[in-house]
């Protein structure tokens, strides 16, 4: 073996250090924590730098995959999958960070044909989209960290900024009676109409940043913040309804779920709190405890609350008996997005890019994608 001289050794050392340090400092497309939607024939998911559709009965190979292309047809990559996609009868609409060829990274909203994966339209936004797009009538509403609420007309294809908040908007909009309710990282909750006009005299001030989506029901808006406080506001006036906010042990990020007169609130302290929606008082005996942070909002379907936890387990709780329906379903990665229920099947995706399919009745499930070779 040749002896490395001092000069050669030094040069080699410096080269290695340069490469190593440059790699450390290079910007990397943030993968996000996985985003997906499902209908009967497909599961649509943003995984591994692309967006794809999987047929559950033939999941080994995606039905189609989509990556953006630049003007020359060079394939790019996708990342920043935080926002759950939304489905219209013929489109799957999702938001992601896109890198096309040598072009710089941009934040984009894409609409693809559900059957073929062909791109129908896209529009850029100036900041990351964390909350899922919401469809109301012929309009898609998109919130962004650039502080804007965008309205995209599905018929004309026109996009406009509907409203600009005081800070980044990370949650989605909650739609009710033609109004949009949402919070911002500037510690404010807003109510606007379809024209972007504020409905309340002034935005409601929260103690902490609002990173999640409010829940609306019974004429009230329920919203949590990053201090762990939960507020109930009058949907008409924006005035607090409870005598004081409920305080959880850690941040509240996921969307609360209203089931009858009970509000289920997920918290990063690992609990899903059951509160009396009228008073904000906890029903401690109904509290659902998990082993990790509950980042995403639970999903309520058929009287069962499905809770995805960072402890890599999916919990199913019967909201009538307040008992676990089955033993938690174990996955190999943290569950940071809400479960999706289609018929008698529950789908979850993990932060390491896997999709699982679970039978809602028995709790038995399997890895759907990617399938082991």
């Amino acid at each position: 073996m040749g002896k490395v001289t001092w000069k050669g050794g030094t040069a080699l050392l410096l080269l290695l250090m340069a490469v190593g340090l440059a790699a450390c400092g290079a910007p990397v497309l943030d993968a996000g924590w996985g985003a997906f939607a499902a209908d009967a024939p497909h599961v649509y998911a943003g995984l591994g730098g692309k967006f794809l559709a999987i047929k559950p009965e033939a999941a080994a190979t995606p039905a189609w995959t989509f990556v953006p292309k630049d003007e020359k047809g060079n394939a790019g990559s996708l990342g920043g999958f935080y926002a759950m996609p939304v489905l219209t009868p013929d489109l799957v609409i999702f938001a992601a960070s896109a890198r096309q060829g040598s072009n710089p990274q941009t934040e984009q909203v894409f609409a693809l044909d559900r059957e073929t994966g062909e791109q129908r339209w896209s529009f850029p936004v100036q900041g990351a989209v964390v909350g899922e797009p919401a469809v109301y009538g012929n309009t898609v509403y998109v919130t962004s960290a650039d502080q804007n609420v965008y309205a995209h007309d599905l018929v004309s294809g026109a996009t406009k900024v509907l409203f600009t908040a005081a800070g980044p908007i990370w949650g989605s909009v909650a739609l009710d009676g033609g109004r949009l309710y949402f919070g911002s990282m500037a510690h404010e909750v807003y109510a606007i109409d379809a024209n972007g006009q504020q409905v309340w005299p002034k935005p409601f001030q929260t103690e902490g940043a609002v990173a999640g989506t409010p829940a609306v029901g019974g004429g009230r808006v329920f919203v949590g913040d990053l201090t762990g406080r939960v507020y109930a506001l009058d949907a008409q006036t924006g005035q607090p309804v409870w005598s004081e906010p409920f305080r959880a042990g850690n941040w509240i990020w996921g969307q609360p779920v209203l089931a009858g007169d009970t509000l289920y609130v997920p918290s990063l302290d690992g609990n899903v709190y059951a509160l009396d929606a009228a008073t904000g008082v906890e029903k401690p005996e109904w509290r659902i405890k998990t082993g990790g942070a509950v980042r995403a909002g639970p999903t309520l379907a058929g009287g069962v609350l499905y809770v995805a936890s960072e402890d890599r387990q999916l919990y199913a709780v019967d909201t009538n008996t307040h008992q676990f329906k089955w033993s938690p379903f174990k996955t190999e990665g943290a569950l940071l997005t809400s479960p999706v229920v289609v018929g008698d099947t529950v789908y979850v995706t993990t932060s390491d890019g896997k999709v699982y399919r679970i039978d809602a009745a028995s709790g038995n499930g399997r890895l759907l994608y990617p399938q082991p070779k």
Binding site: T10, L14, L21, P27, A128, M185, L226, T227
Partner: protein, 342 residues
């Protein structure tokens, strides 16, 4: 497990102290409070770790003082590595030196600086995943009870968004410049010394600051600011420890030429002239007339008059801290021996 312990005893306290400082300063200085918090914590940590730094310097100096004797041993037992190692250890023992003593203080303070680095990275996080990671480290008790209400932190400071890279590249330039100054102060004036060690030191002296400047171009500018503050504090400490060191070689040489050492000797101030005065070796070979050939200088005997010259001229402190002393001595001596044979 180790990660959890690190988080518990270093990362979380550091992060929450930074946040607490931010919350106090935010009421007084709405803009730039996070930058100020970084500056204050960096200064405090520098002061806290100063005893370790002093020990490190002391240990380096002691090792330097033994260089001539070590070289003698190398000459004597160069072919018998086992015996050489034994003799070296004996020499260390006789002089009450632990060759690893210089590394230990450095290793002890490394986790503290890593914790500060990680705290800044976490607090300046901009993506949801980064914020989620941060949520696991924020205290919710006592005086720390309301820290979560501070998010997202205001990251504006002068022209900078501390969570984003500096698009004007001023911070990367400052990072490179301050690191170069600090390293230059730590090293002796190289003059025309072309020994491999000196060449390596010179390469490192240029490359390391450049590389740090380069990577700072893509890092949040808050981290770059931390690098700059840390280097500035290092420069001040270095000044009070060794003076301007290799930064002002001309002045140092002139001072030495007048035959008097400066009150606060620069690292290499008294070295080069002493090397010029090195006597001929015992085998009759004449010692180099100038300090241009370190390989020959290495072959010089450790005479009392030259000891001071040898003791610091061979390996700069910075290189010594990063390189085991024995390794650099052996390499240099080997080449020196080959030359001598020729």
């Amino acid at each position: 497990m180790i990660g959890e312990i690190f988080n518990l005893i270093l990362l979380r306290p550091m992060l929450n102290v930074l946040l607490l400082l931010y919350s106090i300063l935010h009421g007084v200085v709405p803009y730039g409070s996070f930058a100020l918090a970084i500056a204050i914590v960096t200064v405090l940590l520098r002061l806290l770790t100063q005893p370790f730094m002093a020990k490190q310097l002391q240990s380096s100096k002691k090792l330097n003082e033994l260089q001539p004797q070590l070289k003698e041993l190398e000459k004597k037992y160069g072919k018998d590595r086992e015996r050489l190692a034994q003799e070296q250890m004996k020499l260390y023992k006789e002089n009450g030196i632990n060759p690893m003593a210089g590394c230990l203080p450095m290793l002890l303070q490394m986790p503290i600086w890593i914790a500060l680095y990680q705290s800044i990275m976490l607090l300046l996080g901009r993506t949801p995943a980064q914020l989620l990671a941060l949520s696991k480290h924020v205290y919710n008790l006592g005086i720390f009870a309301n820290l979560s209400s501070l998010f997202p932190l205001s990251s504006q400071f002068l022209w900078l968004d501390l969570g984003q890279p500096d698009r004007l590249f001023i911070i990367p330039i400052l990072v490179a410049a301050t690191q170069w100054v600090q390293q230059k102060m730590m090293s002796p004036p190289s003059g025309s010394d072309d020994s491999p060690q000196a060449q390596m030191s010179q390469s490192m002296l240029m490359m390391m600051p450049l590389m740090f400047g380069f990577i700072t171009m893509n890092l949040p500018s808050g981290l770059g600011l931390y690098f700059v503050i840390s280097s500035l504090i290092g420069i001040v400490i270095q000044y009070f420890t060794t003076g301007w060191g290799g930064l002002l070689p001309a002045r140092a040489t002139a001072a030495a030429g007048r035959g008097s050492e400066p009150a606060r000797p620069a690292a290499g101030a008294a070295r080069a002239p002493k090397r010029l005065a090195a006597p001929a070796g015992p085998d009759g070979e004449r010692a180099p007339a100038t300090a241009t050939d370190a390989d020959h200088a290495i072959a010089q005997p450790a005479g009392p008059a030259t000891k001071g010259g040898h003791e610091e001229a061979l390996v700069p402190e910075a290189a010594q801290a990063a390189t085991p002393a024995g390794a650099s001595i052996q390499k240099g001596t080997k080449r020196g021996s080959r030359k001598k044979k020729r």
